[in-house]
Amino acid sequence: MSFGVRLPVSRRMQAAVQGLVTGLLLLLCSPGWGYPDAVPAGEYLDRGVEGCLMCHGQGSQWPAHDILNTVHGVRGDGRTPFAEGQRACEACHGPSADHVMGRREDGGRPATAIGFTAAEPASLKDRPCLDCHQADTGHHWQGSAHQFDEVACTDCHQLHTPQDRVMVRLSQAEVCSDCHRRTRSEFLRPSTHPVRSGNMVCTDCHAPHGSMTPGELLRGTLNESCYECHAEYRGPFLWEHAPVAEDCSSCHEPHGSSHRNLLSRRSPWMCQECHLAQFHPSTVESGLGVPPQGASRQVLGRDCLNCHTQVHGSNHPSGAGLIR
């Protein structure tokens, strides 16, 4: 493997870059000046969940009792916040003595150490989650697109409800489209994967907690991810179509397109962007090939695929032209 980065700069500039890189490495290896987003100091009450439910029980103004109807409320599981020896609500919300005992000047109660509010940094809100879920989220969370963009766990997940919407297949896409709004519109185009009908969900392809693939896909590469459901196109074929073997997105738009089979652009012109051989591949295809002016076999029906049907590759000994 060789990256061979050639810097078109002077020696002084190269020295500066080297200095910068060395400085960055030193920074990375340093223990850090101050722990990022440390939980605010305070006193734990350790009164158990009952103390909190006095104000946050069923029918209260700020109900939180439903947490006990979720996986986090199972006391028998020693890993949960409500297990013996754990700190119940304070396990996530941090030291809350001030919240219970104190009063602000306006008469209200001070917030818990971690209030999971919009004003708090994501890294602070994520800390109690990651303390337990480092393995569940996968080892790619740190540095993933969502983590780097400061999307907090609680921006997607709801904990105080028996049904977390992002974990329910029929409502997951709605949660994702709260931020990925352009993708929501793409799924309304004529050619899409069956997400709108609920047969597919975002996590069938994407790993929201990060992965090693650009686009945070489930498998190691884009093509491997597509082969999860389209293994028939994996090959290898005797006669391969180079961009197909390399990258499905060379021709396809995964979220939606106005062209058939999620193609990025209209064929035959998309095919002609790469195939400009003598005779018919280089012929200008225009309105003269459409009724009533004409009937071009390169435009009507399946255009190029009227003959070159094996566009994903052919395993026929006479199939070099991808027609067999």
Binding site: S185, E232, D247, R265, A277, A320
Partner: protein
């Protein structure tokens, strides 16, 4: 399979014991579709007008929170009356193990108004009806075509069953195993071509069989320790196609260049269907905290794809290919290697840095041979010197890059990043491509109630020398073609291999004028500029606008709206040429195409939740009503403008268009603590215009027998009334 899954689910249900809360919700009802529509039920299977059963259920047993119990189970079913039904079962002991079973059916209905004269649709051998009158020159001269056309619908069904098991062990060990079987059957379309070259070839769209089965397995073992995580995993995917080949009787009469027997009635064509293949991969991965603020993660994966399906003969007509195949099967082998290292650090409380290195290799070890093809089951086998050599494409991708984010005071954040990519390809016009990507952005919430974001990136791709005829020379017997010979025009630059500048800008603004108001606007622009002023894709652009608004007047009422406008534009240039050298260099034969795809989508949504109906139920609880109303309108328009030089003739094409409108209303009335009645109505309307389909019948193109289906359009009203009960 469904029976097996259900039995498994019920057996699992028995696992749970006391100290549990059992909850159940059952929805039963009836739905009515007013008009049959193949496309309305594209993925749901709701195709025929009339009544359908609504049946959903969900049973759960979970431990009482303070009982000390940890066992649970769940059994669920959705859309049981439809062809898109889904069943789920899960049981386990929280913190120790879990077992999940899933089953899902997904139909895929593409069109139902196709027509074909072939008998045996969906089988591996298609023949023409008795009395078929072939024609050599044109499909229009097939005098018995109309009377022999049979309806053909392209419909597929995917059944997907999976089983996942997870076991936690002491000391942070975790074992996961999953298996998944996907079965896909139905009919697809293929094209069968018979002929020796583009001039005399004749084709027909064929109703082809789909009978696929894919088994996928994943097994992993992970250990999570204090500050580190280590794992090893195996992935296997095995695809099987029950159909190896597709043969069809040639519906066309003889051409002078064809060998005797290639035309109707004796002539048959044969093509290879997608071959069986396997993929297996072993992966080791881990994560480690190097310092309290720095984490490293590493993935290493090594895999192999294999394909050794027995070859079909060169031609279905053995007399045309006296020379045998060089091998019985491909013995295709591709070794894949993946390495990914990421370092994430917060060296300063306000600074977040991520560095990554990625290496990806597709080492194609498929053997090469000289094949002596028969053109379209109609010509003689080519001489050995004109044989074709297969090209086992290989590819290596390396990437190194970093991203940084620095929090400034006043809730402002700066983003910056750089990435260098290197791609090396075998048998390609370009051996090496280098890309440099620069990214920068700023986000701020310093103004009360306003947040702003701006991101921009510049990407530059430089490639090694473009040798247009390298693939041609690689596929021919050495010495059999002139080293200067070419297939594609020498001035063509394929877009995925060409030098390119890519610029992107994104803007986002969110305003909260009041606690219960939200207004948002976003703009995105990107441009791919292929720097060399040659043939191929010249430029492509995206311009996207988006507006959205939300209003929550009370905690029971939510109103939202959005508008989204996307415009993709691209320009390409080319030259129409023939074998004669003058046309290769004749600028009067240049042509260009400008395409513009515009998408416009807008929608409104109103949620009314827990509305008080003004009186109590028999059990004293409030009789509340939930209502949701949605409207979505999505339009697309495709414009294709063609310009041609003086030696050519061209005209613009009619616009392509689609319009998709959906109105949906659902109302759920709570009639007691346990019972609800739900009413839902959906109106869907779809219209499209496509010059390649509309007004184009099976015999509209002289040399190709088409299906003749129209571009889809439908209008459907779907009403449901159901009763939900919670136990």
């Amino acid at each position: 399979m469904k029976r097996w899954l259900l039995a498994g689910g019920v057996a699992l249900a028995g696992v749970a014991y006391g100290d549990s809360v059992v909850e159940a919700e059952v929805e039963l009802g009836v739905g009515y579709l007013d008009e049959s529509s193949f496309r309305y039920g594209k993925y749901t299977g709701l195709v025929d007008d009339g009544l359908e059963v609504i049946a959903n259920f969900n049973f759960t047993s979970r431990p009482v929170w303070d009982s000390g119990a940890t066992r649970y189970w769940r059994l669920g079913g959705e859309r049981l009356g439809f062809d898109s039904r889904r069943l789920e079962a899960e049981a386990g002991e929280q913190g120790r193990m879990r077992l999940r079973l899933n089953f899902q059916e997904t139909p895929r209905n593409l069109f139902e108004d196709g027509q074909t004269p072939f008998l045996g649709a969906g089988s591996q051998r298609l023949i023409l009806p008795a009395g078929w009158e072939a024609a050599a020159a044109s499909t229009a001269a097939m005098t018995t075509l109309d009377e022999n056309l049979l309806d053909f619908s392209q419909r597929q069904r995917r059944r997907d069953a999976s089983l996942d098991y997870r076991q936690h062990f002491a000391a942070g060990w975790r074992f996961d195993a999953s298996m998944r079987r996907q079965i896909r059957d139905g009919r697809s379309e293929m094209a069968g071509t018979i002929g020796t070259n583009g001039g005399n070839s004749r084709a027909a769209l064929l109703p082809a069989p789909v009978d696929y089965e894919t088994d996928t397995f994943d097994v992993s073992l992970v250990r999570e320790g204090s500050g580190h995580l280590l794992g090893i995993a195996w992935h296997g995917s095995f695809f099987r196609n029950s159909d190896r080949e597709l043969s069809w009787q040639n519906p066309f009469g003889p051409q002078p260049q064809w060998q005797p027997g290639a035309a109707f009635p004796d002539g048959f064509g044969q093509l290879a269907l997608l071959p069986d293949n396997d993929f297996q991969q072993v992966r080791v991965f881990g994560q480690m905290a190097l310092t309290p603020t720095t984490r490293a993660s590493l993935d290493l994966a090594r895999g192999r794809m294999r394909q050794d399906q027995r070859f079909l003969p060169y031609s279905v007509d053995a007399d045309l290919a006296p020379t045998p195949l060089p091998r019985a099967d491909l013995n295709g082998k591709v070794d894949t290697t993946l390495a990914h290292l990421r370092l994430n650090s917060r060296p300063l409380p306000r600074l977040n840095l991520t560095g990554r290195v990625r290496y990806e290799d597709r080492d194609n070890k498929t053997p090469q041979d000289v094949f002596l093809p028969v053109s379209g089951d109609a010509g003689l086998q080519v001489a050995p010197e004109n044989g074709r050599i297969n090209r086992p494409y290989g590819l290596t991708r390396s990437e190194i890059g970093f991203d940084g984010a620095y929090r400034l005071p006043q809730r402002t954040r700066l983003n910056f990043g750089y990435e260098h990519r290197l791609r090396k390809r075998d048998f390609s016009e370009v051996n090496t491509a280098r890309e440099d990507v620069f990214r920068a952005g700023v986000r701020t919430q310093r103004f009360q109630a306003v947040s702003l974001g701006l991101d921009a990136s510049h990407e530059r791709r430089n490639t090694s020398r473009y040798v247009g005829n390298r693939p041609l020379l690689a596929t021919r017997v050495p010495g059999s073609v002139d080293p200067e010979a070419f297939e594609n025009h020498p001035n063509l630059r394929r877009y995925y291999l060409a030098d390119r500048d890519r610029d992107r800008v994104q803007l986002r603004a969110d305003v909260h004028p009041a606690d219960n108001w939200h207004l948002g606007a976003a703009f995105a622009w990107s441009r791919d500029d292929y720097r060399e002023d040659l043939f191929g894709l010249d430029e492509s652009r995206l311009r996207s606008w988006m507006l959205d608004a939300g209003y929550v007047p009370t905690d029971k009422v939510r109103l939202s709206a959005f508008y989204h406008h996307d415009r993709y534009a691209s320009s390409q240039r080319a030259r129409s040429f023939t074998a004669a050298p003058p046309t290769v260099n004749d600028p009067d034969r240049d042509w260009s195409v400008d395409t513009r795809d515009t998408h416009e989508t807008w929608g409104l949504s109103l949620d009314l939740e827990g509305l008080d109906a003004g009186f109590a139920t028999r059990d004293g609880s409030a009789r509340s009503l939930d209502v949701r109303l949605d409207y979505t309108d999505s339009r697309s328009r495709g414009q294709i403008g063609v310009e041609a030089g003086p030696a050519l003739a061209a005209a613009d094409l009619p616009n392509l268009s689609t319009r998709f409108q959906v109105v949906s209303l659902s109302a759920t009335q709570r009639i007691s603590e346990a019972a609800r009645i739900r009413f839902a109505f959906e109106h869907e309307r779809y219209r499209s215009r496509d010059f390649a389909l509309d007004g184009v019948g099976p015999a509209s193109v002289a040399q190709v027998l088409l299906f003749g289906e129209a571009s889809p359009r439908y209008r459907a009203n779907w009403v449901t009334l159901s009763y939900l009960h919670r136990f």
